[in-house]
């Protein structure tokens, strides 16, 4: 910390530091050369909040690989941008709205979706797909059904109205999220690679324009709330929740894209967390400029709003633009057409200062650059996560495989999430080639032949047991899911959801996950182009499972050459690619059947991941397989059951080739880097040969056909019954709500 300045002794600090620490407050005084007034302090407080400054995570985030031949824009802008050829770019990002969604699930989730869509269209991209990664508490917790219902309705309510298909995501349940659910929303947009819009302000004298909805007293201090722990009385913080207006955002989207087609915009930034404060400070600081705003010109919908309230409001559906002066009228005409507010509220200056006035009186006057560059950075102490002892499969009670399968396929984490995605319009825009329910959604780009594959993944129980391995696995599984439909994985966005960073064991989880992700991203050529950090996900001192959600985007050069998991053809051979060692530590089998959440997560061999994935992608692209599915939660038998249910076709699974692997490990082990493919019988020999020379373990493990799933030893279960179990849980659970 910098030294104290005169006039900033502890005694003179105001009682309410608005979430800043005493040291941070003193630093603000040093920067100002005087005590900041209330508005200025509010600005310091939000700019230096965890949410805006990344003060606890910055030192670690820097370690992630962010560059690559296709990366046009990595982290640091509103969203990441990746070149996909033919003059096109894909723009995407994921963002959390955890705390607001716990307090008011519908509006919290809805405005989360609205916020992430703004991040993407701010960059000049039209959103073409949304995903959402959701984590709820135990199904037995009384609050859970209400939260599930509200969050899902809110995500649908916003995305459906925007006309953007919601095509994928995840839903998990675990008691660690009882008091702190996770709502992570991802948007993927398509832009002209040569026409990406950035937030760097330029041109002294250029007008600063406010467009969109009016400002109210919504969500003041939302950014600091996102950076604070929950306690039982958090529900008292209710008025900070914002209400979303997807209709206005739809108009804002169309108006912005229409304006972007002209040559009017110098810079653009959405007003998200910390609203006008962060947008104006970030834009001017990136341009090395000052900015003057007349706050009385800001369109407001409530009377007598103070400068403090206007600067800190988190009203939704607003944007800040720097325009070329000569383009004002043209721009105004577009926003008039869309019936949105358009107000010139200030100009860029060369003073390097943020100067706010209200009816001619100065409300704040502070240097811009130190707000960003002197924001606190903490290298917080870390404590490693203790390693767990391996699980000996032979120590587990014997169960009937069919019984275990019944239980697994109907357990909350594996049960079908149809009840969720049917509330999302996943078909609008007419390009959804693979709907929710597979390994990755496939979206055609325009009339094709190109397409994108999209998926989000994380296995928090792995991350809790071994953060480094868990971080690695999350990236690897995401890469595998895109590969399983035949796509080339291009890049990821992440959403790091963790507990209180001031606790060394939490920081240890964070650091470990980042290190694992780093290794996986490097090994798989899979850079991180955008992301979001959400810390303090705790209630009464108990943290959530560490949850680094990974959102991945892959490219299909020709959507006709892709695969889905549904079995399609009787008499096909089932070929298992990748090695099976029967790893049961942290497996769903162990948790759901033996009731134990123990052991190390499966090892991740990144070289094998890559080798096996590249081989599978090659097979898919040459049309060699009729179905493909990656193996993850629940292992081989669950994967096969999912393929059978999707294709409404039975299959027979053989016993493991070697006698060493215990049956539970063979059927339910969660060894990584594996895929199960179906292919015509006459090709299986050739493909096995090719796998061998490519260094990919491969074996025929069964064949397709019939209406039942038959296990080694002859036990069988009908596919129809499996589907009933798999489809039944969530609707029944929510129906009883």
């Amino acid at each position: 910390m910098t030294g104290r300045t005169k006039g900033a002794t502890a005694a003179e600090r105001p009682a309410d530091l608005m979430g800043l620490t005493a040291e941070e407050y003193d630093r603000a005084v040093a920067i100002m050369g005087r005590a900041p007034n209330r508005t200025e302090l509010g600005i310091f407080s939000v700019m230096w909040s965890e949410h805006c400054s990344y003060k606890s995570s910055k030192v670690w985030l820097k370690k992630l690989p962010t560059a690559g031949p296709r990366v046009i824009q990595g982290p640091g802008e509103n969203a990441g941008v990746v070149d996909i050829g033919d003059g096109q770019a894909v723009v995407f990002k994921m963002e959390s709205h955890n705390h607001p969604s716990f307090i008011e699930p519908y509006q919290g989730a809805a405005t989360g979706v609205g916020g992430i869509m703004r991040d993407v269209f701010t960059m000049g991209a039209r959103p073409i797909a949304n995903l959402n990664a959701l984590r709820f508490g135990s199904p037995d917790d009384a609050k859970t059904p209400h939260l599930v219902a509200g969050v899902v309705a809110g995500i649908g309510g916003y995305g459906n109205c925007m006309g953007v298909p919601t095509v994928g995501g995840e839903v998990n349940f675990h008691p660690s999220y009882n008091g702190n659910i996770l709502v992570n929303a991802m948007t993927v947009g398509l832009a002209d690679a040569a026409r990406i819009f950035y937030s760097r302000a330029a041109g002294v004298g250029n007008p600063v324009i406010y467009v969109g909805a009016k400002t109210g007293r919504d969500g003041i201090h939302g950014a600091t709330m996102a950076s604070a722990e929950f306690s039982d009385d958090s529900e008292e913080k209710r008025p900070t929740v914002q209400v979303g207006d997807p209709f206005t955002e739809k108009l804002l989207l169309e108006a912005c894209l229409e304006l972007m087609a002209t040559d009017a915009i110098v810079a653009i930034q959405d007003m998200g967390a910390a609203g006008l404060t962060s947008s104006s400070v970030e834009m001017s600081s990136k341009g090395g400029l000052g900015i003057e705003l007349a706050l009385d010109k800001v369109p407001v919908r409530e009377s007598a709003m103070t400068p403090y309230e206007i600067m800190l409001s988190e009203s939704q559906e607003r944007m800040l633009l720097i325009l070329k002066p000569e383009a004002r009228d043209r721009a105004r005409a577009i926003f008039d057409k869309w019936e949105l507010d358009f107000a010139e509220i200030g100009r860029l200056t060369d003073s390097g200062r943020l100067v706010l006035t209200m009816h001619g009186k100065i409300a704040a006057d502070m240097p811009v650059e130190p707000l960003v560059s002197q924001a606190p950075v903490y290298d917080r102490p870390i404590a490693p996560t203790p390693k767990q002892a391996a699980i000996d499969a032979r120590s587990l009670p014997a169960t009937s495989p069919v019984e275990a399968l019944r239980k697994l396929i109907g357990c909350p984490d594996l049960a079908s999430k149809r009840w969720v995605w049917e509330q999302y319009d996943h078909l609008i825009m007419g390009n959804t080639l693979q709907r929710p329910g597979g390994d990755a959604a496939v979206i055609r780009l325009g009339d094709g032949p190109k397409g994108l594959a999209l998926a989000s993944d994380c296995t928090p129980r792995y991350c809790a047991a071994d953060p480094e391995r868990g971080g690695m696995q999350a990236v690897a599984e995401n890469w595998r899911n895109l590969t399983a439909v035949g796509a080339l994985p291009l890049a990821i966005t992440d959403n790091m959801n963790f507990g209180n960073p001031e606790r060394p064991e939490i920081m240890g989880q964070f650091a470990g996950c980042i290190e694992g992700m780093r290794q996986a991203c490097v090994a798989l050529d899979y850079p991180v182009v955008s992301g979001n950090v959400s810390l303090y996900n705790e209630t009464n001192g108990k943290g959530i499972l560490p949850t680094p959600a990974i959102g991945g985007v892959g490219l299909l050069e020709d959507v006709a050459r892709s695969a889905s998991l549904a079995l399609k053809q009787e008499g096909d051979r089932l070929v298992l690619l990748g090695a099976t060692r029967g790893h049961l530590g942290q497996s769903l089998y162990l948790r759901e059947i033996a009731g134990r959440e123990e052991g190390p997560p499966p090892p991740v061999d990144l070289a094998a991941e890559r080798r096996h994935g590249d081989f599978v992608r090659g097979l898919i692209r040459e049309g060699a397989v009729t179905a493909c599915h990656d193996l993850s939660d629940g292992g081989l038998l669950v994967a096969l059951a999912e393929m059978a249910m999707a294709g409404r076709m039975g299959a027979t699974l053989d016993a493991p080739g070697d006698k060493e692997t215990p049956m539970a490990g063979w059927l339910f082990g969660e060894d990584q880097a594996r895929y199960l493919v179906a292919l015509p019988a006459e090709r299986s020999a050739t493909i096995l040969d090719r796998a061998k020379s490519a260094g990919v373990p491969a074996a025929v493990v069964g064949r397709t056909g019939g209406t039942s799933l038959t296990l080694p030893g002859g036990e069988a279960i009908s596919v129809a019954e499996l589907s009933d179990i798999n489809e039944g849980w969530l609707p029944r659970y929510m129906g009883a709500a």
Binding site: A213, G216, R217, D218, R238, P239, V241, V243, D245, E302
Partner: protein
């Protein structure tokens, strides 16, 4: 026993519905509409015959289900 419950947005909370209605009325030629707020009106018929008990019950219903007290107020009106 019959009761009427009004659920309204707290003041200051954005009311997109009200705004859209106000705008539409203007376009349709209704001048001088200064503000529109939209809320819910719920009519409930109860078996309960004791007014005090009914009110306590209705209050609990509002708290738990009928109103979203994060953003909404409610008012209970029990008919005679």
């Amino acid at each position: 026993m019959k009761a009427k419950v009004h659920v309204t947005l707290k003041s200051g909370v954005l009311d997109p519905q009200g705004r859209a209605i106000q705008h539409a009325l203007g376009v349709m030629g209704f001048d001088g509409v200064k503000d529109v707020r939209q809320g819910k009106f719920i009519e409930i018929e109860l078996e309960e015959t004791d007014r005090a008990k009914a009110r306590a019950n209705l209050d609990a219903m509002c708290q738990k289900l009928l109103a979203n007290t994060v953003i909404e107020n409610y008012a209970i009106d029990i008919a005679d």
